[in-house]
Amino acid sequence: MPTTPFSPLGADLLSTLVFLPAVGALVLLFVPDGARKTIQGIGLLFSGATFAVSVLALLRFNPDLVGSEAFRSLMVDRPWIPRFGIRYLLAVDGLSLSLVLLTTLLTLSVLLVACGQKIDRFKGYVAAFLVLETGMLGSLVALDMILFYVFWEVMLIPMYFIIGIWGGKRRIYATMKFVLFTLAGSLLMFVAILFAANVNAQATGIQTFSLLDWVPAALGGAWGLTPRSEALLFWAFALAFLVKVPLWPLHTWLPDAHVEAPTGGSVILAGVLLKLGTYGLLRFALPLFPNATARYTPFIAVLALIGIVYGAWVAAAQKDMKKLVAYSSVSHLALVVLGIFAVNATAVSGAVVQMVGHGLTTGLLFMLVGVLYDRRHTREMADYGGVASQVPVTTTLFLIATLGSIGLPGLNGFVGEFLILGGVFKVSVLWCAVAATGMVLSAIYLLTLVQKVFWGPSTVAANRGLTDMNGWELAGALPLIAFVVILGVYPAPLLNLVKNSVESIVQVARVRMLP
């Protein structure tokens, strides 16, 4: 029996991690609306503590365990609805842990930045992000499929409120579109989960929803799926995740949601929610359905290649800063999907590193665009120009984030993109070539953005009084910058952390790929 490590707070470590933010939101219920200082304090306390717990989890985590043991080090396993074999099963491996850290860091950053900006209905804003954090962390650590689905849907409602209440002019349209797209995918996955559980129960005689039971059964051929039902199951799962990523042509909700969302919403959306799509592919779709994965890899790869070029192309045509960054996400995440479906250790580690890297850099880009928007209430590039002299700090950070996003060597974007391209090269030179053009294009449109907004002559009079980032905003942005640089110069710790999980995913997914 594995011993469950206990956190200082009494409950086990992963439960503490997941539910601490929700407790914070609950505490906020009893704070009066106007007490901004108290609300700030509670928000920062709970998101900070959650970050601390995630770091503690990293320290306690044993990255050397491999195979089915990989999840053992922090596992929590209790019955939840025992009659159907539904369990409260939380566990992390290197893959989920790296994303957990990204999530707790970004949420803390978002709340720090929020403290420095004028936000209406502040209490609700902070509470929504805390609930959202619980949903995200839960989705990352849950290994029981029903529990995973519960957390997956829990993310939906806070985001609905964040975009719908604090968003821009077309926020209602954007938030409804976001919810319906996501829900369409996830409901389909829900039926697929039920169906897979039925298949598993008939094959093994055991009622269980645990991924740790499903994967060996599916791999051992015990499920005995016909190619058709495996394909249907695979697509039900993959669609839920590919909508979230979002892969072209399922991406249409993303520009709307990003543009209309408030700064924090965009940061979390780009930084974490999109990654949950790629995480889901890696964690569930590939290991459970290796044959279907192999069969549909060319198809998905083509979609990803289209997405890379299309996203970049459309981004280059944008006049709105947020829309530009949003389409750049479509392009960059398509590259991650391509890396995942190359199904080799190099490309998949690259994809994971790129997931973290994109979370940091794009999170930063949205955050800094938000800083400008907070001052000027416009996101049109034409309304800026030459503001570098007014806001030198913002400019510097924006430049670093941009270079990181482009993949400049020495910053974190480079590591991920290089590994993905290297891994994809082994599969197909053509794919690699097309994907590389996306990177060239990303340099063009992102640097154009920097040039149009920050450099050149200052032509717009309204920008004269533009103030630079305040202390709160800096406190939110600097840690992210630090990680962009550190992980760029010295990516080894991250690569080591994810190495074993990547290898086991690749091994599992390749088992039956060979003819």
Partner: protein
């Protein structure tokens, strides 16, 4: 049947003790209203006390009573509690509203109690005539409640419509019972089951027609398409706290009776494939209810169509008809009761009064002005959509799981497709509450203690049972296990 014609034992009385308590309390309320008018403020408490006492008597032993006309079981106890819970929620939430409109006469509470008594009697009945007795007691009280605001034209219309169409349904029920009796020679479900299993009656068209007539009458009470036409108008015109009762407990009771009838007669006696028939009702209700609800601009009409769709999900469970599916149906009904009652109470609390219409637009800005009631309504919308971590999700999980396990994946797919459509209109309510600025001021009264208690009860049920559903699941399992066979 030997012995004296009316030989009532104490065991017989124990089996219907809750009904007796409820009926007596109703009479007491009417007398109090006639002779002690000043006591009106205490009426909600009297009704609540009656429910509490009825619940105390709810621990009757299982077994048949009244020479087998009544069958008390874990299942009837389950429904007893659902009925009492619905009454409690309506009374808690409705008291202040009725007092404000000076419509707080004792009859309101008396009718609720009688309706609940009829409901539980209907579920206990194994003799179809006792079922009919209960059904009518329940329904007639509801007809009167539908027209409670006599001075409001919509209310009288609702009462009239519900009465006329309800009378039709009752006639169908009796016609069905008579037909079945004519062929099989009994009105008792256990005797019918034995007779139907005999080869001579297998697939007899008379039995088929009879069962279909009974099912149609029940489908009318449940409001399944195509027997749903009364629901939107009645919901709209009936006073909202009463709708909180009407839309939940009676439907649950009718579903349980349908299960009992199907158990007794369907497998052996129906002769026609009856699962597709129920599946068709389910699909029609889910698609029709959800799509039409999308177009509604009145909250109560919207909730009426949503209720049709929700009963469509229940019908998926009925069409599946395995033991897990029936458990799922019971869990779904319990969750739906807490959720839907909470929704109607919050709608009433956030409206300009029971004499006014309830347009969606009036909910605008209520998130700021009335956060408590708005939160309850929001939560119930999420639960009706079936989003975790609410009890609505648990219900759908069980029903859809049972359908998938019975290889009825297509029904589950229709169910989730309906859920997706429903997100469109349920979330529109949330949008109005929290994201839209009001265009006109609606005078909504502040919460009183009782309605606050109703909200907290309903919220607890929705959230706690959504996160820790085990007690409810275990209980539903025992209840389902007490069904015959």
């Amino acid at each position: 049947m030997s012995g004296p014609f009316l030989h009532v034992t104490s065991a017989d009385l124990a089996a219907v003790a809750p009904e007796i308590v409820l009926a007596l309390a109703g009479m007491l309320l009417i007398l109090l209203d006639a002779f002690a008018r000043p006591a009106r403020r205490a009426f909600p408490y009297v009704a609540l006390a009656a429910c509490a006492v009825a619940n105390l008597f709810g621990n009757y032993p299982s077994g048949s009573a009244f020479s087998g006309a009544i069958q008390a079981s874990e299942l009837t106890r389950f429904v007893d509690l659902l009925a009492l819970a619905a009454v409690v929620l309506s009374v808690l939430g409705g008291g202040a509203l009725l007092e404000r409109d000076r419509k707080d006469q004792g009859e309101f509470y008396a009718l609720l109690l009688w309706s609940a008594a009829g409901l539980t009697l209907m579920v206990k009945g194994t003799d179809l005539l006792v079922v009919f007795l209960g059904l009518e007691t329940m329904s007639i009280a509801l007809y009167v409640l539908a027209a409670w605001y006599r001075d409001v034209p919509e209310a009288t219309e609702a009462g009239m419509k519900y009465f006329l169409m309800g009378a039709f349904a009752s006639a169908f029920f009796l016609y069905g019972v008579a037909t079945v009796y004519g062929r099989l020679g009994s009105t008792r479900l256990d005797a019918l089951q034995a007779a139907a299993a005999g080869s001579s009656a297998y697939g007899d068209p008379l039995v088929t027609i009879g069962v279909l007539a009974i099912l149609a009458a029940l489908a009318f009470k449940i409001a399944l398409v195509p027997f749903h036409a009364w629901a939107p108008d009645v919901y709209q015109g009936m006073t909202t706290p009463a709708v909180a009762f009407l839309s939940t407990a009676p439907k649950a009771g009718a579903v349980v009776v349908a299960v009992k009838v199907l158990m007794a007669l369907a497998p052996a006696g129906l002769g026609v494939p009856w699962r597709p028939f129920l599946a068709a009702l389910a699909i029609l209700s889910i698609l029709f209810g959800n799509v039409v609800a999308l177009a509604q601009r009145d909250v109560k009409r919207m909730l009426a169509y949503s209720g049709i769709a929700q009963m469509g999900y229940v019908a998926i469970g009925l069409a599946t008809f395995t033991r897990p599916a029936l458990e799922g149906v019971l869990v779904f009904l319990a969750g739906y009761l807490a959720t839907n009652a909470a929704a109607f109470l919050a709608v009433a609390a956030l409206s300009g009064g029971e004499r006014e219409p309830h347009p969606l637009a009036d909910l605008a800005g209520m998130g700021r002005r009335r956060p408590f009631a708005a939160t309850v309504l929001t939560l119930s919308m999420l639960s009706l959509t079936g989003l975790p971590p609410t009890v609505g999700f648990i219900g759908k999980l069980l029903v859809f799981r049972a359908a998938v396990d019975a290889q009825l994946v297509s029904l589950a797919l229709v169910g989730i497709f309906g859920s997706l459509i429903s997100a469109g209109y349920y979330l529109r309510v949330v949008y109005f509450l929290w994201m839209k600025e009001p265009t006109r001021e609606v005078e909504a009264p502040a919460e009183d203690v009782l309605s606050g208690a109703a909200y907290i009860l309903a919220m607890t049920a929705m959230l706690v049972l959504g996160v820790l559903p085990r007690p409810l699941l275990d209980w539903a399992r025992t209840a389902a296990l007490s069904l015959p066979r």
